[in-house]
């Protein structure tokens, strides 16, 4: 038996309000762009008016510049791609002086994704960005989940107690609110979200890439030089939605930024219904650099069609199925 369909009374397009809250933050739109898929923003200015997006998350920043992994670094798979870039970035100092001014001028929500290679460098990085940002950074998105660095890291993203300790230290070191980006490569995503919430994170970003590989049977080598990489794109959306829903259900009201394979406005609405308060577009930016604006338009149209005036009217509204009548060997209608 199918679920009862909520009756949708369309509303005019202009009564759809995309401005929304993410914890203490006010977003102009719930559609942001994801770390590692938007560089530091400049390239995209050639394709679209960046002021129309809700915000963006930068390439992950570490205290010192990093040069990245050997080739091959990427490989396309069915409905997705595997990458192992290796967190290549310009480093804190160059970011603050060379990249941040451009972002600050955009007047969108600036999320600076950051990471360290050990406990101390995580905290240093948070402190440096918070201080050096001088009010121009809206969120420090703490990456405790990248599968592509060898040294340290893995337990930050997979052991709740360790994530709690690290998050707490970064929250204390930073004036800027911290959102923790979690890895899906864990058995209990709720425990991780709970741990960082209790440590003072204002929200979580769900999900980072899923550890993956592909093999060239002729050379019998991995398609990725580091053997494994992170899978992204529409292939991972069902996994991401499931995790967003699990966390939203366990921690009602705790802000979640959903991401993983979003291609359309309908995908965004799925994330809202699952429990996300805002979303990030990632892999789609590579093949459609203007995607954020198209998806925003599609979301607005779909919300109007379904009579959803505000983002929060959709968030965490997943319905259930009615219970079936109890089974009996003889039909009550016999």
């Amino acid at each position: 038996m199918s679920a009862p369909t909520p009756t949708a009374t369309p509303v005019p397009l202009e009564s759809v309000e995309l401005a929304c809250d993410f914890g203490p933050l006010k977003l102009r739109s719930p559609i942001l762009t994801a770390s590692g898929c938007f560089a530091y923003g400049q390239q995209f200015a050639e394709f679209m008016d960046l002021r129309q997006i809700g915000g963006l998350s930068t390439k992950g920043i570490s205290p010192l510049p990093r040069h990245g992994n050997p080739l091959p670094r990427i490989y396309e798979t069915a409905s997705g791609m595997i990458n192992s870039i290796g967190l290549e970035n310009v480093g804190c100092e160059a970011f603050l002086t060379e990249k941040l001014p451009f972002l600050a001028d955009l007047d969108v929500s600036v999320w600076v994704n950051f990471f360290g290679t050990d406990f101390e460098t995580y905290v240093d990085c948070a402190k440096t960005l918070s201080e050096g940002g001088e009010g121009r950074i809206d969120v420090l998105e703490m990456n405790i989940s990248c599968p592509n660095i060898k040294k340290g890291g893995i337990e930050f993203g997979t052991v709740p107690e360790v994530a709690h300790r690290l998050t707490k230290a970064c929250v204390e070191a930073s004036e800027v609110p911290i959102v923790v980006k979690l890895t899906p490569n864990v058995s209990d995503i709720v425990a991780m979200a709970q741990a960082v919430k209790e440590a003072g994170a204002i929200g979580v970003s769900l999900i980072n890439t899923i550890t993956a590989m592909a093999i060239d049977v002729r050379s019998r080598r991995s398609r990725i030089a580091t053997t494994y990489g992170g899978l992204s794109g529409p292939a991972i959306k069902p996994v991401a939605l499931r995790m967003v829903h699990q966390v939203a259900k366990a921690l009602p009201g705790f802000p979640i930024c959903g991401m993983g394979g979003i291609l359309t406005g309908e995908d965004v609405l799925e994330y809202f219904i699952a429990g996300a308060h805002c979303v990030q577009l990632g892999t789609i930016n590579f093949s459609e650099p203007g995607a954020a604006l198209r998806v925003t338009r599609e979301l607005r149209e779909l919300m109007a069609e379904l009579g959803i005036e505000r983002v929060q009217d959709a968030v965490a509204t997943l319905g259930g199925y009615e219970a079936e009548p109890a089974h009996a060997e003889v039909s009550p209608w016999a």
Binding site: Q43, F47, E76, M81, N83, I85, E88, P234, S287, E288
Partner: protein, 279 residues
């Protein structure tokens, strides 16, 4: 990131899909409005995607074969995987999305590495297989400017069937040396055989030459060795796996010598000085 022409993303329609020999084919694409690829430089490329759903996720990179006018251009390709397989089947009227023009093109024959003019070096164009398009385009441009004698083409393939678009080179009066592995056309052997002879002759005559090469990686590696050993300026047009084509995914890193260990095929290249490539 300074470019002669701003990159853009736009829609095109397939005007023609022409089969050549050897499994190669040429797609002619046209947009309704003037597009940025009309101003593309030889060596620049485009990312192409058909309307085939997101099972095939990203665009595919192809060098521009010819910018016909402000709305029409061509690419030449061969079936390598599922994306190119779909492109082989495309019919006139089908739509594609183009991002481009991307990257930096070949140096011009009248430019010196430091940007000065008037080096007067003859350019030896070395093409292998699917690496022909940017060099063919480069030759076409020079011929259009009355400089057919500024270049000589060295073009290799496995067999005669794999040497395509050579009539145009003859017609333009571009001096061309062909080579096939099986000897079915031109010199028997790799394209580096006649190239080596030409480089030796140039050295003996004190003639200033430079090499522009595009083709499979083993060919490029061999050409690079030849150029470096003789001190001949050599530019290599490289191909790497890329998701975006405009410097964001960082997938197409090229190992280089210099302050940083990698550059990017899409934005720093695809044309690189052989001396800086760390192979």
């Amino acid at each position: 990131m300074k470019r002669a022409v701003a990159m853009a993303q736009f829609q095109v329609e397939v005007v023609a899909n022409r089969a050549l020999t050897g499994g190669y084919f040429v797609l002619e694409l046209a947009s309704e409005q003037d597009n940025a690829v009309g101003g593309a430089q030889p060596g620049q490329f485009v990312m192409l995607r058909g309307e085939w759903g997101r099972d095939l996720l990203n665009g595919r990179a192809f060098s521009v074969l010819e910018a016909i006018d402000a709305r029409r251009f061509t690419v030449m390709l061969k079936v390598f995987g599922r994306g190119t397989g779909k492109m082989r089947e495309m019919q006139p009227g089908e739509r594609m999305t183009v991002t481009g023009p991307l990257g930096r093109g070949f140096p011009q024959p009248d430019a010196q590495p430091d940007g000065g003019a008037g080096s007067g070096r003859k350019q030896l164009l070395v093409a292998g297989g699917v690496g022909l398009p940017p060099l063919h385009f480069h030759a076409r441009r020079l011929v259009g400017r009355g400089k057919a004698d500024a270049v000589e083409m060295f073009y290799g393939g496995r067999s005669a069937a794999e040497l395509v678009l050579t009539e145009a080179l003859d017609e333009w009066g571009v001096q061309t040396v062909l080579a096939t592995d099986d000897g079915s056309r031109g010199v028997e052997g790799r394209v580096t055989v006649p190239l080596t002879a030409r480089l030796d002759a140039a050295a003996e005559a004190g003639e200033a030459v430079e090499i522009l090469a595009c083709g499979p990686t083993p060919m490029l590696a061999a050409v690079r060795e030849l150029g470096l050993a003789r001190g001949v300026p050599t530019s290599l047009c490289l191909e790497e796996m890329m998701a975006c084509g405009f410097g964001v995914c960082l997938g197409c890193a090229v190992p280089v010598y210099g302050p940083k260990p990698y550059k990017y095929c899409c934005t720093d290249g695809p044309v690189f000085d052989a001396k800086e490539v760390r192979w």
